[in-house]
Symmetry: D2
Subunit: 377 residues, 4 copies
């Protein structure tokens, strides 16, 4: 029998919608032990959070996250606030014994993240961070192929996350819609927003990173700030690139920017092994490119696997072969795996502890960009 799991959602922006959709759809498609119940949505602006709750079917609202956490009828809290609030809320949740689902990146920096990890581990509460791309079926398939040892020794890992939405000089920074451009709320620019995704996937697929050397740039130096109404210095990184060495001896190359005209959300990675290589691209997320050198010489080529068959990860529960799913399904899959893992000793991951490693890499990247030195993670 499916048990109810009462969800309290803090935040109602883009991610609030994406996570809620995951909760609402999981039981239609997957046979899992819990059924998420949309118990309460929380946000500082009562009118807006009410509209969100009505739209999505949350039973109640709160305007103070402490009150939400204090409620007995909330089993799990989903933290979708700007990054600067993650730590305080998460620690309070842990102390209240709540299950926690925290939006990425885990924290403003690794020091905060370490505190959060200690809190959840001390409390023994189930926890997960929303690095959703692990559960795009093509990415999960890549993980399975790599885990099988199919690639042999790994030589290279490269990834980038390219966008172009902040090129306009007249775009302001800060406030509800644009907190990602405000260092006080976001901690960093593309490093925490975009590179963190690339790093999480890389650590998952290719193991730990030893050291990095990085370069950042802020192309537009000043923007009008929505909270002050004044033109202010922009403190986030518009672009961040780094080179690194992995523990397995392979070389890494990472790039992210919001100034790559023509790319809306182009997250790609490629991994080159002795026997085989793999590529993936978020703009065609339902495909995985695979090259196998062990095939006969004149028949080798990059193979485009349309990840839509019943024996592909998660796909047996959706439609029929050839019919693709989209971005939002990665969240449904994360909910599915998390619900299955609750109370077991096999956390679905990435746990807070897993996400902390990503945070450490981000910190090393930002430090290296400042010091201009190779920096250990």
């Amino acid at each position: 029998m499916t048990q109810p799991l009462n969800i309290g959602m803090i935040g109602y922006g883009f991610m609030g919608r994406a996570h809620t959709n995951g909760y609402k759809r999981v039981n239609d498609f997957f046979d899992v032990p819990y059924r998420p119940v949309l118990k309460a949505a929380c946000g500082r602006d009562a009118e807006k959070v009410k509209a969100f709750a009505d739209n999505w079917g949350y039973e109640s609202i709160e305007v103070d996250w402490r009150k939400l956490i204090a409620r007995d009828d909330i089993d799990a809290v989903d933290i979708c606030t700007p990054n600067n609030l993650h730590k305080e809320i998460a620690i309070a949740c842990a102390e209240a014994g709540k299950i926690i689902l925290c939006e990425k990146p885990l924290a403003m920096n690794a020091a905060e993240g370490e505190e959060m990890c200690q809190a959840v581990e001390k409390a023994g509460v189930d926890n997960i961070v929303w690095y959703n791309y692990r559960r795009v079926p093509a990415v999960t398939l890549a993980k399975n192929i790599i885990a099988s040892g199919n690639l042999g020794r790994i030589f290279h890992y490269r990834a980038n996350f390219l966008q172009d939405w902040t090129i306009d000089d007249n775009l302001p920074q800060g406030g509800a819609a644009l907190w990602r451009l405000d260092a006080a709320a976001a901690g960093s620019g593309v490093t925490g927003d975009l590179l963190a995704h690339c790093i999480d996937t890389a650590l998952w697929l290719n193991g730990s990173i030893e050291n990095v050397t990085a370069m950042t740039e802020t192309f537009v130096k000043e923007r009008m700030h929505n909270l002050t109404g004044k033109v202010q210095k922009v403190s986030i990184d518009d672009a961040c690139t780094f080179m690194c060495r992995f523990e397995n001896g392979s070389l890494g190359l990472f790039e992210s920017t919001r100034y790559a005209r023509g790319h809306k959300a182009l997250y790609t990675f490629e991994i080159n092994g002795e026997h085989a290589s793999i590529k993936w691209d978020l703009h065609d997320l339902h495909r995985l490119e695979y090259f196998d050198h062990r095939l006969e010489g004149d028949m080798r080529g990059w193979r485009s696997i349309h990840v839509s068959d019943g024996d592909h990860p998660y796909m047996g529960n959706w439609w029929v072969p050839g019919l693709q799913i989209g971005y939002e399904h990665s969240f449904v899959h994360q909910v599915k795996d998390f619900l299955e893992s609750l109370g077991t000793d096999q956390p679905a991951g990435p746990t807070f502890r897993d996400a902390l490693e990503t945070q450490r890499v981000c910190d090393a990247v930002l430090a290296s960009a400042k010091s201009l030195q190779w920096t250990n993670v």
Copy 2:
């Protein structure tokens, strides 16, 4: 205020799931005047229909579709049965004054379809047929481009729908899972199943078809029949190809098959005009290819439009630029448009009458394949 609209669903297979998902999601993403309520699911096998109802949240079940139609608490009936039952059910619905959403193809043939049209028109009930591909955002964008006159005079229209799932000789025919291989239940093979989609889109984008010449083939002549347990002749068409002339003077070329190894559900179309051309492919449904000859000579090329921006059809209600949606969203969009059209004089379409024209083309195609003559629609 959003009004409830009570849905009665007949059938619980692949399409039953796809339509139901459409009903359940539409209000989360679109502001429409009605809210579908999953009132009852209907099927002959009580246990199976119960499981379906429980899974998706239907409030009740029926095992006799006549009883479903007789219920006062049902506003709209969705017909997801095999094709041979469409006519009888649809006419009964019309007579009972129900709104009707009928799975495609409309009927076993145009004669049946004509009866159905007369019934709904006489009853004055809102009606629509589930030719869902019209509402893939890239296809809708194609429609808008064409409607703007952007292409100039049209010379060519070509489409195909290629699959490969019936190549195995040992696959049986008939019964619940494989009624599409049984002519008694399906009427035809790929013509009604696949070509009908291509024809619906073509009529919508390029206008009426005047005449056709067709070729069909049944590659595997006999298969075990699930209902009789005996090896029997296969009566459906495994492949069907036809050439045609459109009223606007352009030439058409259509092909469908279940024997094209490597293609799971490859529906593609291309239209070539004097000034510009358009291509689309279901395997990458979020992209539209466009060639504009009016650009400077050395800068011309096929342009791959990633249909994921806020100003693309339907996309402003989903995620953010660059993040693709999938197959199932076409059904959500059809529900959205249909709900908006209810009670207006602007039917969302394709209405039964629209779908009848597709049926007439299918009939002409099958007749031509038999007579080996050019055949008027």
Copy 3:
């Protein structure tokens, strides 16, 4: 030791250049028993043929093809005239005991072709027709894969050849540059010019065609004629599409047009077999797409073979892996194979007799387009 082979070239247009380039380059890259010597170029316009000869290094010129054929120092004649002259010249060459390399299509029709075949066979002279696409390395690789039986039973063959260069109403017809638009010189429009290529490849890869049904269209009905200076009816086919059945039981679908905006010379073919499928596209002629269903289920996909390795057909004699060759190399390869075959009982092909079968299919296609009936080849 390499023997000289004296070439007499009749015609100096596009094909005159392409063939001459083949003669000039073959010995640089391939170790063959003969060395083509550019002995004489022939054309009616002395000034123009002189310029051509000077440009390419022909030792002498002729303005009367009969004189060229009469010369003792000519071993082989290359016929690059408009189609309406092929027959007379070829028969004269055969009677003079010359080796013959004839531009495609072989003749104006199959009756002419039959006479030509009888002439070369009676004379016992080596002969070949310039269906050059057989020797694009990726196409040759396709042939080898098919010949190995790798695909299993064949279900479908489809090909098209799409161009867009005659859409402009103001383009005239006829004369030196535009004889392809003049039925008197060309015999037909796209059928002989473009479809003939598709048919030659198809017969080579997939065997004989039994019967056809075709459709042709002339979109621009009248054009100014360069030879008369008057606006005259256009008698060629601007577009030609046909369906057919092959002897091996597979279905064929062919299309060609000069009205497909966005396609400059898009020749594609695809063949679907029980186990595997193959696709090719002239716009990326160095790639072959291959799908193998025998691989593990979740790892299947279309594989893009970059045909540039040393073990790919012809490629060991060019550069290094990854570096592509182009269109013109297909002619070098044809010269290479033809020179190796001279005097052996293994003609390089397509011989006149091979090309006659293509002609018969073209005739059947044009007859069907007129009669609107299925027509046997």
Copy 4:
């Protein structure tokens, strides 16, 4: 009237063939003031150089490059030796007043390159370095687009050159065939061999590089040496990656390796500007990808320009639209441009002086990889 230009070729390997082909073909396709004459080929192994000369039609051979340079009947010397001989030969050529065409990279390092530049400038001889990719038509088109100012302010430049031919541990190093793996002959590994190409193109398209930080790796530490027969340390870089800043304020990211399984010779670059972006890929060298943000919002996309039209750079002299050329044509184009520039004050470039800048960047890259510090060029 076309003047003869007597060529003396030193070296007869892969590049000896590629350059010679350029000399032999240029006059067939381009109307230039000079006609290269293959006067002499030079190499230390008399038998091998004789075979090369016979194959390609060189009139004579030399086994001592000093003798070649001393000959009065040599106008221009083409240096295709391993890199460690470039300096000595080039300076001797300059002193003898010969025109010089030198294979890339210019020298073992910038110090050598500086000597070479001074020698040719003092002597006033025409000189060029074989960075052939500038003259792939799609790359030249990219240059033209950028030169027009079409892209606006530039934010990012990224390039990579990926190969996979040295992954096998059993591959030896050194000797005639494998001097590229021997640091004594090659100076460096992928940096001089592959990255040098990327850097030359980048400097040409995007201007000077200010500083770099680099990472190199040698994956296989020891290989049998062909010259000594012993297993020896491998001193070249198997992979080299660097980040940099350009003078125009844009960020650069470069990578090259011979350990990227699945890539034979994948040279790609991408440049992102305020208004538009450009991508190119050597594996499909006849295409240029272009994104223009100034088009209407819902019609934007990456445009694949098939660079095969008469108004594309160099293409008017080859075949007809849609028919692609290949790798080797870039050398023909370089010969063409160089011959046109002889004796003018508009050197075709890259001159020795231009190539020296590439050398300086390579030196800075290698120095940074050693010091692990950001390094000025």
